[in-house]
């Protein structure tokens, strides 16, 4: 039976390059002013998924993404890098979902894809930084979870061994399938887009995108079914409206303050030449020295 790896990926506003229009007056993110990108840690997750696929014959990588129709770009981007297919979960009723409502919708989608062996996602998305959606999805699916994954140590048809990046060290753990894994940014960067795969999949479209765009390559899409990106709505997932969108989201943003961080993520440097080199380059790059 095919070994199925499901990647949960999200399209996010690029909060790393924030201009002055990045936030609206009411304190919410002005998505129109920020370019939409592949959530960085989801790219790390995709890379680990592709490494699993490289090692297990007869396996496939399936992308699940929730968002407006333009989020189909995430699925194309993933296919350019080696994913086999993707599903776009899109419905106005999902709008305003917090982590509880999002993980509810994602867990229903994963159930539809069962049997899955691995569900894998970035640790957190840069527009919310909650790190809750992965673990909540695992709980709803009643499957074990490995968080903060940094390295795929080993994988076979029976189990996966993962190195976890923790604040003061690493931990190597093993799990049977199915398992949920969330991936830390210290995991390997995602492989680049592949030229042939990019050319193969560049005309892939979700149905709702097609309604907006020209239909020049429709004949091609009819002849090549892999160019149709599947879409799932609330109805397809048999979801209960009460658990979705704003209504299903107990989290309410009360107010937003500007906070000046006094303490950033700590990095532990060992007294090795390599780490000192990294430190010096960082100090030079940030103009602390040099």
């Amino acid at each position: 039976m095919i070994f199925r790896i499901v990647v949960l990926a999200k399209q996010v506003p690029d909060t790393r390059n924030v201009g002055k229009d990045a936030m609206k007056e009411d304190g919410t993110v002005n998505r129109a002013a920020l370019p939409a990108i592949f959530n960085p840690e989801d790219l790390n997750a995709l890379e680990l998924a592709l490494q699993m696929k490289d090692q297990i014959p007869d396996s496939e990588v399936v992308i699940l993404t929730m968002g407006p129709f333009r989020a189909a770009e995430i699925i194309r981007e993933s296919m350019y890098r080696g994913a086999d297919k993707g599903y776009l979960i899109t419905d106005r009723k999902f709008a305003g979902s917090d982590t509880l409502a999002t993980s509810y919708a994602l867990s229903l989608a994963v159930k539809k894809l069962m049997p899955c062996d691995v569900v894998i996602a970035g640790r957190q998305a840069i527009d919310g930084d909650t790190a809750q959606v992965g673990p909540q999805t695992a709980e709803k699916l009643h499957i074990p979870q490995i968080t903060y994954a940094e390295e795929l140590v080993d994988i076979n048809r029976e189990s996966v061994t993962i190195k976890r990046r923790l604040e003061r060290g690493v931990e190597v753990v093993q799990a049977k399938f199915p398992v949920m894994i969330t991936v830390h940014s210290s995991a390997p960067d995602c492989r680049p887009r592949n030229a042939k795969l990019t050319m193969k999949y560049k005309h892939a479209r979700a149905t709702s995108e097609l309604q907006e765009a020209d239909s020049k390559y429709n004949d091609l899409r009819n002849a090549r079914p892999y160019l149709i990106i599947n879409e799932w709505t609330v109805a397809d997932l048999n979801a209960d409206d009460a658990w979705l969108g704003l209504g299903g989201s107990p989290t309410k943003v009360k107010k937003i303050d500007n906070v000046v961080l006094t303490h950033k993520d700590a990095t532990v440097m060992t007294p090795s030449d390599e780490d000192i080199d990294v430190l010096m380059k960082e100090l030079i790059a940030s103009h602390v020295i040099g």
């Binding site: 680049p192 592949n194 030229a195 990019t198």
Partner: protein
């Protein structure tokens, strides 16, 4: 997070040249591959869209992976361990990334695992790879050797080696020997047939870029007793046969990330490419033309990198209370750097387009007989390419050196230190006017076009192109320059002295080259206002330069040779 393709609007301008429709249509031949390969384009627009998307990938890897490791690769360099060349860590990583991205075999046909791209995006990739890391660009750029196998080897050799190139196996062109540098007719490496009818190579090769490549094209003397080009044949050596000793890696001035090797062939098995005796006469000439185009791309990449570094620094560096870019002495330098880069780039893509068209006809001729008009066009483009290629190599490499020199000047003492990349660019640029034929040898190739009028024909072709009225005044000035060029050539011809002709050759070739680049910038400006500045600046520069050359030629007398010959006596 830099993208070396999308951060330079000039590249899109050249990628979308009006001639591209012809070029892509010729290369894709009714777009028949679409029924066989899922990544083949269905029509011209689709092909152009693919070029654009793949260039974005190349640009991203150049900005995010190659450029950040260039300094370390220059510093660490490759190592020779157990007869194996080990690339610097960053070089090896860059190579692996480009393999993962499927960026080897760009111009090879799809049946060999290639992308069947036109030369334009291929050369463009070479340019930005060189901008990111000129040393690495040699390793990546040597995939060009595959073109020679594709053109001249038999089907068996093609099937054995070309798919491996598309998968990222590296290549080398193994020509130079201790006593055969510019003069390749002197090659001594011996090729002999053994009793089983297999070729064996014995001898030494020197200064071989990426000598420990997976697949090497080796020129050797297959005809015992011969002394000239007619005794040389071309072979493919497969590293899997482990019959070559890498004696050393040279310690060089620049492009230090690229291993330059001395190789000892010890009864090394090899297979023949094409026919015996055609090695230098036909195949290596073709190989060298490809390599010269490659050095042109590399030169433009370095020139661009130098310009960008200098421009950025000149805006940031303050002296006497203001950024130094505000001083005329500095902004003139930067304007010239930009104009030279853009002129060389326009010549680069014009040359690439010209080669692309005739090579496509060559490929079609393998499939069916060409019609008469097709044959005529093939010949015309082939002749034009033969003229433009040495001029490109000559001018782009010199500009690359000049820009690197000026970039350090803009930086001042800081640029002389190892703290900024300009000193590396300066060292990297230096080889471009030397390898694959020195500037002096490019003049030897191009001067024929001065004598037989081929260069003038190219100039006239541009002169007759349609351009908007607002640019007519520039064309008029180029027409004046052309008249002065003709006057100088007539004068030199009238001397009826071969040595004087050779003596003045470089000046005449450069006069023509300047006019050609001036026209190319004018034609670019006709399509895109952005080029107006460089077209004006470049024209001012060459007006002064061509006057100087012309004065020198018109004042020259055959007896003046004696003054210069003194040092030779």
């Amino acid at each position: 997070m830099e993208n070396y393709y999308s951060d330079n609007p000039c590249l899109k301008h050249h990628l979308n040249h009006p001639l591209m429709k012809r070029i892509v249509d010729l290369r894709e031949r009714d777009y028949a591959d679409k029924d066989v390969y899922d990544y083949a384009p269905v029509d011209f627009e689709d092909a152009m869209d693919s070029y654009e998307k793949v260039m974005e990938i190349v640009g991203e890897i150049c900005g995010d992976v190659l450029a950040p490791s260039a300094e370390a690769n220059d510093h660490d360099g490759p190592q020779l361990i157990n007869n194996e060349v080990i690339y610097a860590k960053g070089t090896a990583e860059a190579h692996q990334k480009l393999i993962a991205a499927g960026l080897y075999g760009l111009a090879l046909p799809r049946c060999y695992g290639g992308l069947n791209f036109s030369l334009i995006p291929y050369v463009m990739s070479a340019e930005i790879v060189a901008r990111a890391d000129a040393g690495f660009s040699n390793i990546w750029g040597l995939q060009d050797c595959a073109e020679t196998i594709l053109e001249f080897a038999n089907d068996e050799v093609k099937a054995a080696f070309l798919p491996r190139v598309s998968k990222g196996e590296t290549m080398a062109m193994v020509l130079t020997e201790p006593d055969a540098g510019s003069d390749l007719q002197a090659v001594q490496l011996k090729a002999t047939l053994n009793e089983n009818g297999e070729w064996r190579l014995n001898g030494v090769k020197r200064f071989i870029t990426n000598g420990d490549a997976h697949i090497a094209l080796v020129m050797a003397r297959s005809e015992e007793g011969t002394k000239d080009a007619r005794g040389l044949s071309l072979f493919v050596y497969d590293r899997k046969d482990k019959a070559v000793k890498i004696r050393r890696i040279e310690n060089k001035l620049g492009i230090k990330g690229s291993p330059t090797c001395e190789m000892v062939f010890d009864n090394a098995p090899a297979v023949l490419v094409g026919d015996r005796r055609m090695g230098l006469i036909k195949y290596v000439m073709s190989l060298m033309n490809g390599a010269r185009l490659g050095v042109g791309a590399q030169s433009v990449g370095i020139a661009e990198a130098a310009y960008r570094e200098a421009l950025k620094y000149a805006h940031e560096r303050e002296q006497f209370g203001k950024p130094i870019i505000r001083f005329p002495a500095v902004y003139e330098m930067l304007s010239l750097m930009r104009a030279k880069t853009e002129a060389a780039r326009s010549l680069l893509y014009e040359t690439a387009r010209t080669i692309d068209i005739y090579k496509s006809y060559d490929a079609i001729a393998h499939e069916r007989k060409l019609e008469k008009e097709e044959r005529d066009e093939q010949k015309a483009f082939s002749r034009k390419a033969d003229m433009l290629t040495p001029i490109l190599k000559l001018m782009a490499s010199e500009y690359s050196n000049q820009n690197a020199y000026d970039a350090i000047q803009v930086f001042g003492g800081t640029g002389y230190m190892k703290d900024f990349p300009v000193e590396r660019l300066y060292r990297d640029a230096r080889i471009t006017s030397i390898y694959e034929g020195t500037s002096q040898l490019q003049v030897v190739a191009a001067i024929r076009g001065v004598g037989n009028g081929a260069l003038l024909n190219i100039i006239k072709e541009y002169e007759n192109s349609e351009i908007p009225e607002k640019l007519h005044h520039l064309r008029n000035r180029l027409i004046t320059l052309t008249e002065k060029y003709q006057e100088a050539v007539s004068y030199a011809q009238a001397l009826e002295n071969e040595e004087a002709w050779d003596f003045l050759a470089r000046r005449m070739v450069e006069m023509a080259a300047n006019i050609i680049m001036g026209y190319l910038l004018l034609l670019d400006a006709a399509r895109n206002d952005y080029y107006s500045t460089s077209a004006h600046v470049f024209l001012k520069k060459i007006e002064a330069e061509n006057v100087e050359k012309s004065v020198c030629i018109l004042n020259f007398k055959s007896e003046d040779l004696g003054l210069y010959r003194v040092c030779a006596e």
